[in-house]
Amino acid sequence: MKKFTIKTILFCTLLPTVSFAQMFQKVWYDGNSRAMFYRDALTGDLKDSDTTSTRSEGEGYTAIDLGMHFTPNEEIEIFSEIRVKNDFGYMWGAGAYVDLRRLSIKGVLNNRVSFNIGDMYLKQTDFTLNNFNQELSKYEPNVFQAYKDLIDYENFYMNNYWRMQGLQSNFSYTFYNSIESVEADLFASRVRGVQWLGEPELLMLGGTSIIKLENNISIGVNYVNSFEVQSSSLDTATYYNPVTNLQLKYKKRAGGLKYFLSIDFGGSSRGWNKNNGGADFETSGGFLRGKTKVVAKNFNSTLGFKYISPEFRSAGAQTRRVNFMSVPSSYAYYTNNTILRPVSMMDIITDPNIYNHRLSTSLMQYNILYSAVLPYGEATPNRVGGDMVFNYKNNNSSLLASADIAYFQEVIGQGTTQRRSLVSSGLSLKANIDKLIGFDNKTQLELSIISEGVTRGGDEIESISFNSSLVSAGLSYELFENLKIIGGTKSFTGSGNEVGVQRDEYDQIIGFELLDFNSKENIMLIGLQYNFTKDIYFSLQTNKIDFDDKTSETEKLSLNRIYFMFNMNL
């Protein structure tokens, strides 16, 4: 009877709540928030020798991104996100900004075709449209999460999607014959607007269609075309770059294992249409990639091969995140000669302002030191080779291990008939020690190493021997519930010689630069992190940063940093 009474009371209490929740709500809000502060202090030799830089510098801000969702009916949602930001050190509106951060309209037509207008996130394949990860980010320990979250959020990086503006629509049909379903996704995006007396408007059109067959085979067709609009500028030539990627996928389950096979192939062309007809610098390239993947309960393994021709160009897949031509936030100019400090590992890991948000129509500059093997991601041109990835986790996921190795060669040599051989490898181990040894306080240890090597034969000028490695470690120990002490390090070394390329505006190689490397960089951190939830936390840490390029008299920097961040992502 007692149980019945309780159930009756609960039913009567909860029913209106549930019913209310089912009612259509026209406006609702969400939002993200961040408070960040850092202060750097010069240490090391530079502290004494550099008399023009300040002894310490720093900045911080509070930002709230208020999202408003307006749903006039069940089929349409209008979303806007307003950023209110206030830099530390200002009052009464000075240093405060109100910006529109995102604006989009989403909807569904006849419950069949969905559409999105305004800001949107787009991704296709590794060869057509893909925002590949920045260098030095593989196997990064979780203790660096505060920096990673800041970089990703401020630069609109969501997985490997590019954030663009335009129109997107998709729909799918399900059949009951040999074709199971057909999906289609189309978009039109404006990458660069009209500039008065400047570059022409840059648009990108694309589409994906996936046909799933009943025998576990699927066929995908991906196409993007980025092109400049001739009539929107006084320029005499306008860029075009269509890329096509066909995909075949097959999956099979046998003997308790799942097998996946995928083959990608396609091509690109790129050139500049001239006003008076014809095209300049037109190049065509192609690619082929095959992958097999085996998935078991405790491990999965991938074996792949790929060939990318030297002429393959894809603005959507080869645009880099890190812009090495940018000015870093911390100690941008240093030494008594006030020289511009080059972007280094410290900036790649901690500075959101050196990152790029827009597709580039030419191959962006990169630093061989940090990215020698695949500087333009999976779609890096002039590569042929294979790779293998292996992931393992034990039964209770207390131990996770990953290993990968890749070997590539250039398809044709740069400046010589000798071709580079490029090797990259990585090893990562993540141990949830509390689970492993039955410890009460959550304790996690992460260790990883990634390395790259480049060799090339030939005479004294042609030969290359370059090696780099990044060793990372992270340890977190839960002092009290949700409060943990964190410590970590990243140590990078790069040494040897390489040959950098100089390209003109049409990506033609016009010269080379003989480079010598002997560089060592470290970041160490220790601090406290309190997690309200996985994505709501604050982190207070101190960092020790060292950068020493032994081939240069000037390129040395040592800093001590205090860093605080409150992060709230809903």
Binding site: G290, T292, G413, I461, I510
Partner: protein, 345 residues
């Protein structure tokens, strides 16, 4: 599935086995490699007769390089420069027909030949002998004056007091004699004009009526400058050439109703230089009472006189700092050519 894996491995091996000999970008060896001479530098036809022959050079290098061959006449001082970018020098890129790059003209003489390279200190020397120097012109040229016979007293002249006009030798641009024109050391204090010479048609060395097509007639004059600069760093010598057309063919030029055309330029170089201008590119005088009231049609066949003037900025005698200084423009080999500038023939 195993078969597919094997297939992948096989495909990989196939691609690795593909050898491509082409390269991307310029050759590293050309940019950074050491320069060595694979085949010695050689003059082919070292006793050169340029009346109907030519000379070329051969050599081979270990890399593509910017090279320059300088041929200097040991008597005349004339210079010819042949330049290229390649790893081979041969007839295709070094043929020399005896023409000159820097005046004076070559004569029958011995020449020093020097091969040099950009960004490399290596220098290779050789020599050749010109047995018959090149003669310029295509047979249609009309020589006004070459001063080889000295000053022609039938030419008109006016030079301000203290200014110099004389015939000098050696150091001519062509032949052995040339005409010196220069100011006093501090210029001419009271006038822009240093002096002028009138070359009347009747007293030209070859008083031949010119072709009537102004697009086909070129005036050529050798001028030796010394690039003296005024106090405000402007070349101090201004050279003006005037062309007088006797439109009604009455034997006189009337300043009120016949054309005067002109061309003027600063003499901002050292040494001899050939100035060539097409008749149709000459400006017509805008002064109504000084050659600006003619029919405005360029008619080289009606030319009655050519006048060359040397001018310089005068100075204030009360302020010697205003002095524009010395002015000089020596003259040699004044000649008309048909079809192209004389040096291109």
């Amino acid at each position: 599935m195993k078969k597919i894996t094997y297939l992948l491995i096989l495909t990989t091996m196939c691609f690795f086995s593909c050898e491509k000999e082409e390269i991307e970008g310029p050759s590293l060896n050309d940019l950074f490699g050491q320069l060595s001479i694979i085949e010695d530098f050689r003059v082919v036809g070292d006793s050169a007769s340029f009346t109907n022959g030519s000379v070329y050079f051969t050599a081979e290098f270990s890399k593509i390089v910017d090279w320059k061959i300088t041929i200097t006449g040991l008597s005349s001082g004339g210079k010819k420069i042949i330049a290229g970018k390649s790893n081979k020098i041969n007839a295709a890129n070094s043929m020399w027909d005896g023409e000159v790059s820097y005046l004076p003209f070559f004569v029958n003489e011995s020449c020093a030949v020097r091969l040099t390279f950009d960004a490399h200190p290596d220098t290779i020397n050789d020599f050749l002998i010109i047995t018959e120097a090149k003669t310029y012109g295509n047979g249609s040229e009309v020589i006004i004056a070459d001063f080889e016979a000295g000053w022609n007293p039938n030419f008109g002249e006016f030079f301000n007091s203290g200014m110099v006009r004389k015939i000098e030798s050696p150091g001519a641009g062509q032949g052995t004699r040339y005409m010196v024109q220069e100011s006093a050391p501090n210029g001419c204090p009271w006038d822009w004009l240093i002096g002028y010479v009138d070359y009347y048609f009747d007293y030209w060395l070859q008083p031949t009526t010119l072709n009537a097509d102004p697009d086909n007639v070129y005036f050529n004059i050798m001028i030796h400058g010394d690039s003296t600069l005024s106090p405000d760093n402007v070349p101090n010598s201004l050279f003006k050439i005037e062309f007088y057309e006797d439109e009604n063919q009455d034997g006189f030029w009337s300043q009120n109703n016949e054309d005067m055309l002109f061309h003027e330029f600063l003499v901002d170089w050292n040494g001899w230089k050939m100035i060539s201008i097409k008749y149709s590119d000459l400006e017509i005088s805008g002064a109504a009472l000084n050659g600006g009231s003619g029919n405005k049609i360029r008619e080289p066949n009606k030319l009655t006189k050519v006048r060359t003037l040397l001018l310089a900025d005068p100075y204030d005698q009360a302020d010697l700092n205003s002095c524009s200084g010395f002015a000089k423009a020596d003259v040699d080999y004044i000649v008309w050519s048909e079809g192209s500038p004389i040096l291109d023939q």
